[in-house]
């Protein structure tokens, strides 16, 4: 994954502040975030509930305007919704009246791409997320996991250089979730985009990311930036390594034990459901 060091990082956040008003009183959500994300890396954002992780993703995606500070993607500022950034929401947010194919084609249609081109591209994207045979299916006919894969395919339609994932698999059961994390890494190895994902799960963060960025309670600042020294490609079995326990302990110390699975990590209950057929080759 280590090419020649590019000039500008994939994402550069400088002095990012964001706030909104609740019942007329200002609430500061992001309290000055500075962060550089290297190209083609995976960053996991963890932090206590309501600290502004989702807000941060929306600011990076250009859906919310920061009150102060700048967002740059590959050296150029983000001033609004931007095709260089693909955002996957917590829910799939598919258009229920469209098929899988035309849902994936939606961003291309908005961008004015001709039908034959966008359909060819959408078929390829469906193949990329393992839904090649489901092109004609409606979202209601797909499982929750398939819908979220579809949402990822749609987010990749405009070939973004940065993919943002907001707890993308949080609605799935833990077994499916582990499988999807493996699939996500396999996908990332193939397409090489930069990924920033929000998660509540320390084990998930460690398994997926090159760096785990811990945010403080509101107003959020970067409380810790923990590098994950695990080789790639990663396997679920890696999660049993001693380095994982140490890293998890370090992240947990920064968080004050505020996440779902702090207990699971502490008792070594992670990575037990290892499925060999799901390991990246």
């Amino acid at each position: 994954m280590s090419d020649a060091q590019p000039a500008a990082p994939a994402i550069r956040l400088a002095g990012l502040r964001f706030g909104f008003a609740v019942a007329g009183r200002p609430v500061e959500v992001l309290g000055g975030i500075d962060l550089d994300v290297e190209r083609q890396s995976v960053i996991a954002l963890v932090g206590p509930n309501g600290c502004g992780k989702s807000t941060l993703l929306r600011v990076i995606a250009g859906l919310l305007h920061p009150r102060d500070g700048t967002v740059e993607v590959e050296g150029r500022p983000v001033g609004g919704p931007d095709p260089r950034v693909g955002l996957v929401f917590q829910e799939p947010r598919l258009l229920p009246w469209r098929t899988a194919l035309t849902n994936v084609a939606f961003p291309l249609e908005l961008a004015g791409q001709p039908r034959t081109e966008r359909e060819a591209r959408s078929h390829a994207l469906l193949g990329l997320v393992g839904l090649r045979d489901w092109a004609g299916a409606r979202p209601a006919e797909l499982s929750g996991g398939m819908r979220q894969r579809l949402a990822i395919a749609r987010a990749l339609a405009l070939e973004p250089s940065v993919l943002l994932l907001d707890e993308p698999f949080s609605a799935l059961d833990s077994l499916t979730r582990e499988r999807f994390n493996v699939e996500l890494l396999r996908l990332w190895e193939r397409i090489g985009t930069t990924i920033v994902l929000v998660t509540h799960s320390i084990s998930e963060a460690i398994f997926l990311a090159d760096r785990v960025v811990v945010l403080s309670p509101r107003p959020a600042v970067v409380a810790a930036d923990v590098p994950i020294d695990l080789p790639r490609p990663r396997r679920m079995a890696d999660l049993d390594a001693a380095v994982v326990s140490r890293t998890a302990a370090e992240i947990r110390a920064q968080l004050g034990g505020a996440t779902d699975d702090a207990f699971a990590v502490a008792t070594g209950d992670v990575g037990r459901h290892d499925e060999p057929e799901d390991e990246p080759e």
Binding site: P83, F89, E91, L95, W97, F106, P107, L110, L158
Partner: protein, 251 residues
């Protein structure tokens, strides 16, 4: 086959029960046909009126008014409902007039409209359009307001234009609700047309009712006309249901 029989038999039994009650009422009260004709008398008169062509010019006139009035009323109501849903200013300015217009009985308004625009197709279509407008506008407003904001945010993240948002997201998402309003609108359109025809004119099922009650004094014909109006209402409602089923099947 059994499923089909289950679907058809209960309504048939209910209908037979309705006819039997009607006939029993006539027998028990011993009403003369010019007060309450029995179902047999009405059926006979209905067949006669069909055969001798009494109905047709009136039916064609009424259907024409419904077609023009419903189309115009619904076509004006849908964009209005959209604007009401999306513009707080428009909502504040227009809502009182809309509600007031709805609160004034169309029965009181119809003679005025006939006075201004005559008793022809124009004034009758205006009345039908007015009656159709409100339910369609309100159901469109509610349906557009109900469009999932998360879908709109998703579309925004792909730099949706205003036009694309309306055509590709909001209209398809709101369509089931809008068609529900059309369902109410079409039945009211029939009522509106009959009411409009009562204000005068040469032709129309409402005119025929007036004739049967007045100069012709043919009460069985009046009842036969009511039956025809009911059939028109059911048929038009069924047509909207068919459209709705297609729309819902697609969504």
């Amino acid at each position: 086959m059994t499923i089909r029989r289950e679907r058809i038999v209960p309504p048939l039994i209910a209908f037979a029960g309705f006819l039997a009650t009607w006939q029993a009422l006539v027998w028990l009260g011993d009403y003369p046909p010019f007060i309450l004709p029995g179902p047999l008398v009405v059926a006979q008169r209905f067949v006669e009126a069909c055969a001798d062509g009494t109905f047709w010019p009136h039916l064609v006139t009424t259907l024409g008014e419904i077609a023009v009035g419903f189309t115009v009323g619904a076509a004006a109501a849908m964009p209005t409902g959209y604007v009401l849903a999306r513009s707080r200013l428009a909502n504040r300015v227009m809502s009182p007039y809309l509600v007031a217009a709805q609160a004034v009985p169309i029965l009181a308004l119809a003679p005025l409209i006939a006075l201004w625009f005559g008793t022809g197709l124009l004034s009758r279509s205006i009345i039908v359009a007015l009656v159709v407008f409100f339910p369609v506008a309100i159901s469109t407003m509610v349906a557009v307001r109900g469009v999932d904001r998360r879908l709109l945010e998703m579309a925004r993240s792909y730099r949706v234009t205003r036009r694309q948002r309306i055509v590709l997201v909001e209209i398809p998402a709101a369509l089931p609700g809008i068609v529900g309003g059309l369902r109410i609108g079409i039945t009211l359109a029939v009522v509106g047309a009959i009411v409009a025809e009562w204000t005068g004119g040469e032709q129309g099922l409402g005119v025929l009712i007036n004739l049967a009650r007045g100069s012709l004094f043919d009460i069985p014909l009046l009842f036969a006309t009511l039956v025809l109006i009911a059939i028109v209402g059911i048929a038009l409602y069924g047509a909207v249901l068919l459209v709705e089923r297609r729309v819902v099947a697609r969504s």
